[in-house]
Subunit: 360 residues, 2 copies
Amino acid sequence: MKLNIAVLPGDGIGPEVIAQAVKVLKAIAMEFNHVFTFETGLVGGASIDKTGDPLPEETISICENADAVLFGAIGETKYDMDPDAEVRPEQGLLGLRKVLDLYTNIRPVIAYEDLLNKSSLKKKQIKDTNILIYRELTGGIYFGEKKLSEDGNTASDICQYTRFEIERIAHLAFKAAQSRKRKLTLVDKANVLASSRLWRKVVQELAAQYPDVKLDFLYIDNAAMELIINPRQFDVILTENMFGDILSEEASVIVGSIGLLASASIGDKYAMFEPIHGAYTKAANKGIANPIASILSAAMLLDHFELHEEADLIREGVDKSLKLHITTPDLNTKYDHITTTKVGDFIEDFINNPEETNLN
Amino acid sequence: MKLNIAVLPGDGIGPEVIAQAVKVLKAIAMEFNHVFTFETGLVGGASIDKTGDPLPEETISICENADAVLFGAIGETKYDMDPDAEVRPEQGLLGLRKVLDLYTNIRPVIAYEDLLNKSSLKKKQIKDTNILIYRELTGGIYFGEKKLSEDGNTASDICQYTRFEIERIAHLAFKAAQSRKRKLTLVDKANVLASSRLWRKVVQELAAQYPDVKLDFLYIDNAAMELIINPRQFDVILTENMFGDILSEEASVIVGSIGLLASASIGDKYAMFEPIHGAYTKAANKGIANPIASILSAAMLLDHFELHEEADLIREGVDKSLKLHITTPDLNTKYDHITTTKVGDFIEDFINNPEETNLN
Ligand SMILES: CC(C)[C@H](C(=O)O)[C@@H](O)C(=O)O
Ligand SMILES: CC(C)[C@H](C(=O)O)[C@@H](O)C(=O)O
């Protein structure tokens, strides 16, 4: 298969971790006789520094002409601490999600057997957890009108949803549930928000088309608690943009490190794959960033093109690296000199030689 | 001291747990020669059933004429499942917060030594956690304009904040930090929301007045993770209404049961005290509801009137009940027939006879 992949490393640890994902994809191409080409684009703070624009036209057209986008991370401390900045790195990521209409963000949360003891949660609490979070990604308070009064003393954001926006992701979430444990949980705040009541109403209506799926509802405050005290109760979670942002980062505690969580952002035309972690500027260029989330995002990219065997091989490599403690310091207590690059090298070697790779 | 206390039991388990708090307050009045009078009002679903109104005028005037309000819980399943309902129990609680201008909600999160093993989190993770959450309670998306389009296909909520609203609670939070470990963490989503950027700007500005307080910032998604992986890093957390709702319920996992978390809602003129848990209609009238959150809310009420010795005695009684496993089934694995009322009775006995009370 020929795949033209747009690569947007972004800020902070983005470039380092994405380099490992690209390395792994190249190994896959070699082993399976695919032709993957990569075109790199600027985005975020790195792009503001060079062009003044967090999302230059050129980057958009690289993405539009690609079969898929691989995205690193975004954000820079100097903008975080300056609430008056008008141009911000995040506009690059949000703009991309909007322009490519990537309305469904899928975030798998899987408790790895080999990492159960890395979690802040008790082992018996998280064992066998396997959740798929469907987060709406192009609507809600992220994209509603934002206002700052002239005197600078009043600010507002609008959280808006339409039936259309809810239906299209809800169908995908119901279908995902059908192929899994047939349970869907809608997380909202329908006891307070009008937009949440629309979510609840629309999803209740669609449920009739998926009689084999058990549909549940939780308020977001309650869900934030239930996710920790009983994560195994969940199969597919469906939720709006902001609640999905919060729940999915919270869910990383189940897995043991946020450096392990991958995601796919899917629209009708385009697809983008990105780790859910941020840019962690402080950790940049030290070789300590965990590349697994990016590498697993690359596996999700392959799955998207039905290259399941290839994707599975990457995941096997990841599992093996975890089992052998070939991991960055966020997970490693055994060896303390395993760098971002070494983890990538190990998984690359594994792909080239699945039978033989071992600790070296 | 004379205190006139408005009692609003509300829905579900509200009446049962509030009855225990009132019992405990009566014991305190007796022991310390105070005169506490109680006037009960209707609110929430219980009030809709009787009057059609979740917050009748009479209830408002009972509260306005009282020195403090003791609130139970609110919510009913039938409204939860009906997104079209125009009258809802929650309007009672939200209306009350607004009418009484209770703009600061204070939620202590304390890991009890005797309950460390009840948490889903590992003991070493939570030991010595002591956080005070300051949640803004009368602004934000809870109270911004809500719209549903005529065709019912578009719904929206506005999240708005003014400098004034942020300043008044921020001052209280800075002062609370000064009397504790002198650390304040503002939780927002300033990389996306205009309202969050106003929060960040105003709080940054106020910081100059509190040079002895170390001010930190976290995005809400990140905070939802950090609260679990490293709760001891927090002293006072300041945040807006919705983020506070989510974080404080999530924080209950540290304490071991949401049935233990009390809160105070404070304005310049009025004060209300309420457990942070909901109405749990399913658990109502079974004697299994944990009254500790309500009883600790009563202790916060006494603290509010500088009756610290009295409040401490209640807390000692609670500690003792936990130590002796005189607790409802959410916490108890040792005895399984300890009811809501028995827990209240035990703490009442303790107050009457601090030296002698024991398991009987
Ligand atoms: C960087 C930020 C704008 C982004 C978001 O909030 O969506 C990130 O937290 C994520 O979850 O992808
Ligand atoms: C019942 C509900 C409206 C309320 C809220 O969201 O504020 C509750 O969850 C709380 O935290 O007091």
